[in-house]
Homo-oligomer: 266 residues x 3
């Protein structure tokens, strides 16, 4: 099977399977990630109240924990939902938004990694470096490093926490500590759109829910991001129209779009 | 008066009257529903703090209670705002997002229906079935039923709580328990856009604020949704561009668009 | 230096300097203001948790305090972040969304003005009048006054609190109490898009971070709003497409766009 058919099969599997993705995510991206999941064919639910997260984590096909606008009660909900999801064997995907920019974010991410069985950790290079202890302070939530800078840190974290680590960037690295996958595609306008990283995390969760392995699911999710980014870049006049075309691309992508929009190296 | 002029009159009444719609709504849709209300000519205010909801409910022309991302303090604010709004005789519209998916959502919706004088309850078929006790568990927040499946449940709830019930779907049902209105229009891409149901609820509230009766206001709101959906579907290439054209359509719709974009059956 | 090159220089300074703008802002606009800041070349961080706001305010180039969806814990975070930012000498910009519509909003705005060293206060005419004590109640969060109506109130507030006051409207007034700057441009569709005022506040903060003076920064921010609004108005078919073209314009504006898109009067 070529790598393009690997991504195209994954696209069809999400469209057919419509996995229920439970998101405990930040206020900034709730709308755009829900739209990305719906456009890709998944069924998102956004819920964070302590009173209901366990019930919804008990129904979902995968769980997203995104710390982008963190506060104490949400941390408690993340642990509660995470424990239910992992006990059911469904993937738990962590997005450590802004790790390195504040102690709250760095330490909450590490606590979640230590106390839950996180399936996938997806961050930008600065966040992954911060969590490995190798990074200096990040500047806010935007990466000041390239994905390649964080390759060693990613492999180390994958080994330490027994998870797949995704470092997104111009070229994405997906590693389980021993095997690496590289995903090339997308466009350099993507970091100028808020929540593109969070959307990647949500798509990784949707694909991990229906994939044969967590590594394959994570690679497929990043592959779909790259394809939609490549498609959007052909029509966009700026980040506003990029965001719109990106959602349309997730909804409409066909096998030939996948073939033209991403390169995958194992 | 034809049914088209009924909808067109309603459109003009909102544009002229600019009703102040107070929304206690979920994080996912705050931006898109505020934009839909502004595009339609209404004046939205989004406020949920216990300290100010009574003051704002004391000014508004209608009130939206939407439980899409519920938590305990917001429930208290919903009751407080609801009591003020109903004492002033302005319409209170409830959107039971995800009722059936968690006990918190099901029971909060039923508590609000029992303890307040809700004017309109608007949900998808799965939510309405869950509230009538006839439904099995829903899958997250997306409906797995057609509106027609929930017709009996809707009429029963309308009678029990003395309110108008709207079941939205490919064909919308609006009922006060004895009279039914059917609204046909829109496009099957709408469920792939997050918050379209919440937007319907907000437009129902805007129209209920300026209509001759709650039933007429609810039907007009759903009619406007259908017209804007039909208009957007002619230009959209996917759910991203659909959302944009939908807002443009609310802003620009003319009488001939109404005539071509919706069918109403009483 | 002509006033156009003044605005164009400011655009380039934000693109080059990429100032980190810390936003404690409302749920409705978090996504759209983050996107506006990114499109303009700034680096936004949205964070409100008491546990981390001081750390982030310790890194930022400017701070936005926006009371659009206020609640008690956020007020505490606003004071904590504000104290750090002012001690570091970075601009603190206050957006009193809905001041006059509820006591919570009016009094919180006045408390922030009294107890912090606010650099810029940006509101619509109704909000500025409400804070000066000259205004009657506003209608929700939309202005029912023109900027010119609030000119005296703005100058008085600027003098009283030692800050720059921006009254946005069809023509924007920027005043430090003794000198006035008028900014003309944009389009009358802008009040039909939620969060345009909040975006203005965020752009003022980005420009104040890199400007020679707070007055110049505020004028540049409003100038950039006007240019992007003028550019978007040429392509928009309604408020949905306006928002998209507006973000694209922030990203792509060139010196000739600035020349054609704004008039500045000192």
């Amino acid at each position: 099977m070529s790598e393009h058919s690997f991504v195209w099969d994954a696209v069809q599997r999400v469209r057919t399977g419509a996995p229920l993705v439970h998101n405990i995510t930040n206020y900034v991206v709730m709308n755009t990630t829900a739209n990305a999941l719906l456009a890709a064919g998944a069924s998102p639910v956004m819920a964070h109240a302590r009173e209901e997260v366990e019930e919804l984590a008990g129904l979902c096909s995968s769980l997203v924990l995104n710390i982008g606008t963190l506060s104490k009660p949400w941390i408690e909900s993340m642990f509660a939902a995470g424990r239910i999801a992992q006990s059911r064997g469904v993937p738990v995907v962590l997005d450590p938004v802004g790790a390195g920019a504040s102690s709250l974010r760095t330490w909450t991410s590490l606590d979640l990694l230590r106390e839950l069985n996180i399936s996938v950790l997806r961050g930008n290079a600065s966040e992954i470096l911060a969590l490995s202890g190798a990074g200096s302070r990040t500047k806010g939530v935007d990466s000041i490093h390239q994905a390649a800078d964080a390759a060693d840190a990613a492999r180390e974290l994958a080994g330490k926490f027994g998870c797949v680590v995704v470092v997104s960037g111009a070229e994405d690295l997906i590693t389980d500590g021993s095997s690496d996958v590289l995903v090339r595609g997308g466009h350099d306008m993507m970091p100028r759109i808020t929540g593109m990283g969070c959307t990647a995390t949500a798509l990784v969760a949707a694909h991990a829910a229906v994939a044969g392995s967590v590594l394959d699911g994570a690679a497929a999710g990043m592959g779909v991001m790259a394809v939609a980014g490549t498609m959007a870049s052909r029509k966009a006049k700026g980040p506003g129209s990029f965001q719109m075309h990106f959602i349309d691309a997730l909804y409409g992508m066909q096998s030939f779009d996948v073939e033209a929009g991403v390169e995958i190296v194992r």
